[in-house]
Symmetry: C2
Subunit: 873 residues, 2 copies
């Protein structure tokens, strides 16, 4: 027979999955002899059983609850529902992972028309007893019976008004009896039966309500937002009541063992004399700082201090505790690891390691990788933010805070910045042509596009704040108007963007510059000592590369060459190349690009020293470099002295129904080998020249994108190798270089054993791999993904966190097949996922050699890579 | 030591891979005692070795050739290069599979300045000897030394002109000696060395030339066109010469044991008296029908007849033979299974089975499935075709012949047909809106789109001739002009299309209606008895369904519902549905569609009887139903009484960058469950009504498209099941139905074990699965695929023949995973590949239950499914 109910003295902190976090910690505190009101926990298994049995608590579980209740009565010397000495309990939910969305606490359960009198007698406080009963009916009615709280309030406030009272405390026992009767009538009218008088019925209904609340909307949303699996289930804690509201010798409070704000090592918290449970949080009375407790209850305070330190040592982590003082006796109601800011997390971890409380491996797990962003980007002034309501919310595409005047085109944005303004670039969606505007702007706001849209990817690459896919806004780029709800913003109006939350605010909010504390550097150093994955960065220019190196990047995992082509003097050459009618013309145009490309690579090599640099050959479809509107085409035709008809025919020919699946990647190099030739020449010549100048030996890794077939890779590799040979022969210098491919097409992963015959390295391009494996265009499915997350079809956005079941299966397969053919093949990931902690854990498990991410994610990746080692021990 | 050279008496017909087809058959004929001039074969292994060794014949192989040559000399009693009695040989290529693109035959090898005199003496015919030498130098110069043939012709024709001769035969021995000297000078000038005089050098150069020719352009192209692996290699046959040109008692000929045109059981062929090798084919003299040979050489004819019958019995197949008569002695130079028309193939197979020569399993393998098309579609009159040169060539998208006046829009086409014209619809590319025009037209010609473009798929579905992706044509739909090269065609001009070859002809060519002979039915019946795969069809309307049933379809594997929405009264409702602002409006529009949909399904069910019908829920992105040009939007706005701005905003919102990977398939049903509800209601109500009317029990299979996640399928399935339940409860009738999914997204295949928890059947949608697995949009990559085939990157077009290594791996994986979860899951394929023989073989091997293809492919699939059983024994 399975055990579904555990007394607090039967469990321990290691039983979180079964008892929930709260239950496990109550058991643990009981075990180490702390003053915990006795009780028991109904397990998460009972919760599964409840759902399995069609939302019913079966007889076996009921019997076990009943048995534990008897035990509780015997321990407490009180009887459930007794008229003279009633046992009262609190019922609280407690999932394995803390979940604010779940059911509220029910206090004073066990009260009924009879036992309320027993409570009055026992405490000698009639008013307290009836008030407790009144509160219980209201809580139970609201939380368990789902009767709108407002209906209870109406009765209560009605009575106060009728009697002319200002404060709740003015109600007399008789008034409260009146309210209780009215509450009970309300309940009967709403649920068509009496308010349950049998405490056992009350208990069972409350237990079921907790189970039910596991799947309420708030809980589901919270799980979605925090990536918590819906298969965990919740436990239920039933605990004998203690009362902090029994007069001036009683009270209740919450406290942290250290400051959750900055990590300072002193007890931090608040308490209230003569108060119960929620009063501290509810804000009816202002609670006192915890230090004041020393004055109110000096002995209790000392005891609390002792327990707090004991708990922190015991858990070896900062604790967040709830306690109650009943007639000068301290009771611990809860302890758990406290939530904290990034700043606090860093300080606490380093302090604790120094004090020998935890080792370095533990220390590095105490910082949420996602939190690191807080330490790297400017943020809004918290005070100012409190008084602001967001106008709308988009996707938190690139963290940080930005504030400026809105402009609707890249040119306008650049001009405004030249005029000394701070600018927010607002676009329907950005394209590579907006790059200059994005570079100039403080932040970017787009109406369309997901977390991996052009705007998002580029902004993250630049460490620039971006809110993308703000689907509620309307952008009229022509009229230069932005509409949010009823409000219309014109060019030049101020907006503030929070790229960390996706919030968009009206007007100006001040930003605060990032502060990198010394402790942060210490933790990063520890992480580097522990991790085995190398961390590279995605960088297309020396500035980003420099930033990434400062953040600890050990190489470039992805240098996209196409971004280099948009500068004015280059775009002209690339357009001539595209419009060329024959190889000769094409080569002539490419020859103009060569010196620029070569200089680009020399600049990047200079920054990177002898760190590896992976350079991807031209990837996007050529039409991305060509204008599409009639006016633009006409202008271009004039500029190039071409007929408008001819040019527009060419533009039409280049158009594609699904450019993502069209003529791009290595397909370009198959059709126009001269492009790959020019790029290889630039890559190798730059390496040779750097070597001749400085003696520094760069090992360029030439990456051929979008490969699906071995023969395709072989064809392009041949061009690369021949070109490199020519350079070596001409220069008399011979350097090492590698030729490899991105694995971003499902077929490449499926046939990786063949691809590896040609490829010296694989870099998983998980953006495109995810798009093709799911059949989701990231530019088109922002809304669908949101809907899927709302409907619980997706646990995570697959463009943020690698889908391990599907896309991950391909990655694992490819890694295995690749190594089968070429045991020493170098494996990395360069999709946006490379900076995602869950994905990094996966990459560690499948044995990749490195992850590559945008510069501002490098510290995140360093930490996550170290945590992967520790968490997979 | 490996054996690289085999004498004819050392091999047999089963050694084709080693000896090539020609060599194996020469050995076989030798083995069974037929008169074959003795010789030997250098193996395909020697060919691999040649390439392995960097295009060199190594010493070991050379030694083996020399040894066999000695043996040949001794058997023939002649010596290579001898002045009095020289051994002469022919050198011919011979790959394991017959390959016309390979090197031409070289005759008379062994002649040089000395041995030519020996030949003159030996034959007593000086003119013959010098003419043989002259021919040898020319053949060797052209084929081995790669000297342009025209240069030899210039010398020869110059001499004739100089002497005033009309015929070649007028040249005297002295003239020929002059020509020989001039030829040798030419060779020396071209290759900067003497024409090789050493017969052994001649032989080795010829052998290498054969090996080299394996990778010449013609051979590569031929292999591509015929799907022959480039890894087979070629053998070389060296055979002692016999001469058909030694006077009136000599001759040469080619013959088939039965008619390759219609299969008639009598010897069919031609011969020429006093002629050598190519003379029969070259068309200088008109050869005589083989029957005439009886008069010229009665005894030889009888002997030939005997050998022909013997060979046919021996090979149990119709033979294509070459022979030479030298001084009344018959020599067999080659035999092989003869190529034949579909009509002949059918008759020969059935006749041979009746005569007990082959069994039924063998008989069904004697018909190329691809040939069946010839029997099902109208074709051009062959006589008329001979005098026509194609204007251009597109893709053979849908077989058949069509002739008509060209029109450039669906409306114009429909109107012209209404006016009694035959019409060819010419479009840049078709879209669903062109459907009416496609139905009306005789044939369709498009400039863009591949073998699985909209035009191609729809045309094949209708069994209508289509040439797609004719990339050399220019279509100006606005001006109604078609330009091919320099020629401009206007609306109303006649064109003729051959959908079997992709050829486009000027003007009118008569078509011939298909004749389904009784023997064809017999073969199909045999195929049905043998095959295990069921054959279904892709049909969206009763007409196609009817056609398919007549062709033997056993169910519908794919009924696409979207094609049903384009009729005028429906498109209006679907547009209102799309433009609806809320669920209520959407439901109102859908309610209008319901009766149409229901009637559609009732009509299809009526045709299909109790055969299974798989119906796919709405799949394409909604913008396909909405116009996109300003004018159209303005008209629609007026029609629907909407503001132009609102409508065009909606249209813009619906636009997608990559519609293939956008909001379509089951994603529509997740967002708008009411669409799935309406369709399910129509599907189930139609089945119920048919049952109530006729008692016929349809088991509809409801197919949810584009599923990538189990949760996605579960969400839509829930809607389907609930709707079906409602119908059953309302009607009081309960019928069986199935809910399943298309596996067309790589992720679905990778996680098929999970998907199978919800899916009762999988239907592999290999069109989309191929697109996503390769990252190739079929609408955009026609040109790339052509280029890839030209460059040998693709062996087959992956949209025609399933890519077994990549896409097939996913199919196999999904089948396995699906069966693991649900052992009795039904598995089928409904992509265009379902009608491709190679793919059908694959489907048989991975254990699918059925294939589904367009109606006109059903007979092909029946045959291919039977062949799969036989070929995998």
């Amino acid at each position: 027979m399975e055990k579904y109910v555990y007394s607090f003295n039967e469990g321990s902190k290691d039983m979180k999955n079964l008892l929930g976090g709260k239950g496990a910690n109550l058991a643990e505190m009981t075990k180490i002899g702390l003053p915990v009101p006795f009780g028991f926990t109904v397990t998460t298994d009972a919760c599964f059983k409840y759902y399995e049995d069609g939302c019913m608590v079966n007889d076996e579980i009921k019997a076990q609850i009943f048995e534990k209740l008897k035990e509780l009565e015997s321990v407490m010397g009180k009887t459930f529902g007794d008229v003279s000495n009633p046992l009262l309990v609190s019922v609280r939910s407690g999932a394995p992972i803390s979940m604010p969305g779940m059911m509220d606490t029910i206090l004073n359960l066990g009260l009924n028309d009879d036992s309320v009198m027993g409570l009055a007698e026992q405490t000698g406080n009639e008013r307290f007893a009836y008030d407790s009963y009144r509160r219980f009916i209201q809580m139970f009615g609201d939380v368990v019976l789902e009767i709108p709280k407002a209906k209870f309030d109406k009765i209560f406030d009605g009575k106060k008004e009728e009697e002319g009272y200002q404060y709740d405390t003015e109600l007399t026992p008789a008034d409260l009896q009146y309210v209780i009767a009215a509450y009970k009538d309300l309940v009967e009218a709403e649920i068509e039966r009496e308010f349950p008088q049998d405490p056992m019925d009350q208990l069972m209904e409350a237990v079921q309500a907790v189970f039910r609340s596991w799947n309420n909307e708030r809980a589901i949303l919270y799980r979605q937002l925090n990536g918590i699996s819906s298969s965990l289930g919740t436990a239920v804690n039933v605990q004998s009541m203690v009362f902090g509201n029994m007069g001036e010798t009683s009270g209740t409070g919450v406290a942290f063992t250290r400051s959750p704000v900055n990590g300072e090592n002193r007890i931090f918290g608040e308490f209230l004399v003569n108060a119960q449970g929620e009063d501290v949080v509810a804000g009816i009375r202002t609670p006192q700082p915890i230090a004041e407790m020393e004055k109110a209850f000096p002995e209790v305070y000392q005891e609390f201090n002792r327990i707090a330190h004991l708990l922190e040592s015991h858990y070896a982590d900062m604790q967040d505790m709830e306690f109650t003082v009943e007639n000068n006796r301290l009771f611990m109601l809860q302890t758990r690891n406290g939530k904290r800011t990034a700043e606090a997390a860093v300080k606490i971890a380093v302090d604790m390691e120094r004090d020998g409380l935890i080792d370095r491996e533990t220390a590095i797990t105490r910082l949420e990788p996602a939190q690191i962003d807080q330490l790297l980007h400017p943020t809004f002034d918290k005070k100012q933010l409190e008084s602001q309501k967001p106008l709308t919310k988009g996707l938190p595409a690139s963290p940080g805070a930005a504030c400026g005047r809105i402009f609707f085109s890249a040119e306008d944005a650049v001009e405004a910045v030249d005029d000394g303004m701070r600018v927010i670039l607002v676009r329907q969606e950005t394209s590579p042509e907006d790059l200059a505007g994005m570079v100039s702007a403080e932040g970017i706001l787009t109406a369309r596009g997901g977390m991996t849209s052009h705007a998002a990817v580029v902004a993250r690459g630049m460490g620039k704040c971006c809110v993308s896919g703000a689907s509620e806004i309307k952008v009229d780029e022509e009229k230069k108007l932005l509409t949010i709800g009823d409000e219309v913003f014109e060019e030049g109006d101020f907006l503030s963007l929070d790229g960390t939350t996706g919030n968009v605010y009206d007007g100006e909010i001040d930003t605060v510059a990032p502060e990198l504390k010394g402790d942060f550097g210490t933790i990063m150093k520890w992480a580097d000592d522990i991790r085995t994955l190398a961390i590279r960065t995605n960088a297309d220019n020396p500035r980003d590369a420099q930033q990434a190196v400062e953040f600890g990047a050990e190489g470039i995992g992805l240098c996209r060459t196409e971004h280099m082509f948009f500068a004015e003097e280059r775009i002209s050459a690339i357009r001539r190349m595209i419009l060329a009618d024959n190889v000769k013309e094409r080569r002539r145009a490419l020859a103009k690009l060569l010196p620029y490309q070569k200089q680009d690579f020399m600049d990047i090599y200079s920054v990177m020293g002898e760190r590896p640099v992976t350079i991807r050959l031209l990837d996007p479809p050529l039409h991305e470099f060509i204008p599409h509107t009639q006016t633009e085409i006409r202008a271009l035709a004039e500029q190039y002295n071409l007929s408008y008809d001819k040019l527009s025919r060419k533009v039409r020919e280049l158009q594609e129904f699904n450019p993502m699946l069209g003529h791009r990647g290595c397909r370009l190099a198959v059709t126009y080998p001269e492009i790959a030739e020019m790029q290889t020449e630039a890559i190798i010549t730059a390496a040779v020249d750097i070597y001749l100048e400085t003696g520094q030996k760069i090992v360029p890794e030439i990456m051929i994108p979008l490969v699906g077939l071995e023969a395709e890779l072989a064809a392009v590799k041949k061009v690369v190798v021949e070109t490199a040979e020519t350079v070596f022969e001409a220069s008399g210098v011979r350097l090492d270089y590698k030729v490899g491919t991105m694995i971003e097409i499902p077929r490449a992963a499926l046939t990786a054993d063949e691809i590896a015959k040609e490829a010296e390295f694989f870099s998983f391009g998980t953006n495109d791999l995810t798009q093709m494996t799911f059949g989701f265009s990231r530019d088109d499915t922002g809304r669908i993904i949101k809907e899927y997350r709302d409907k619980d079809i997706f646990e995570d956005d697959p463009f943020q966190t690698l889908d391990q079941k599907g896309v991950g299966k391909l990655v694992e397969m490819a890694a295995e097949l690749g190594r089968k053919t070429r045991p020493n093949i170098k494996l990395g990931i360069c999709g946006e996922h490379g900076g995602d902690p869950k994905t990094i854990d996966f990459c560690y498990r499948v044995g990749l050699d490195y992850v590559s991410c945008s510069p501002f994610r490098v510290p995140v990746a360093r930490l996550a890579a170290a945590q992967a080692v520790v968490n997979n021990r």
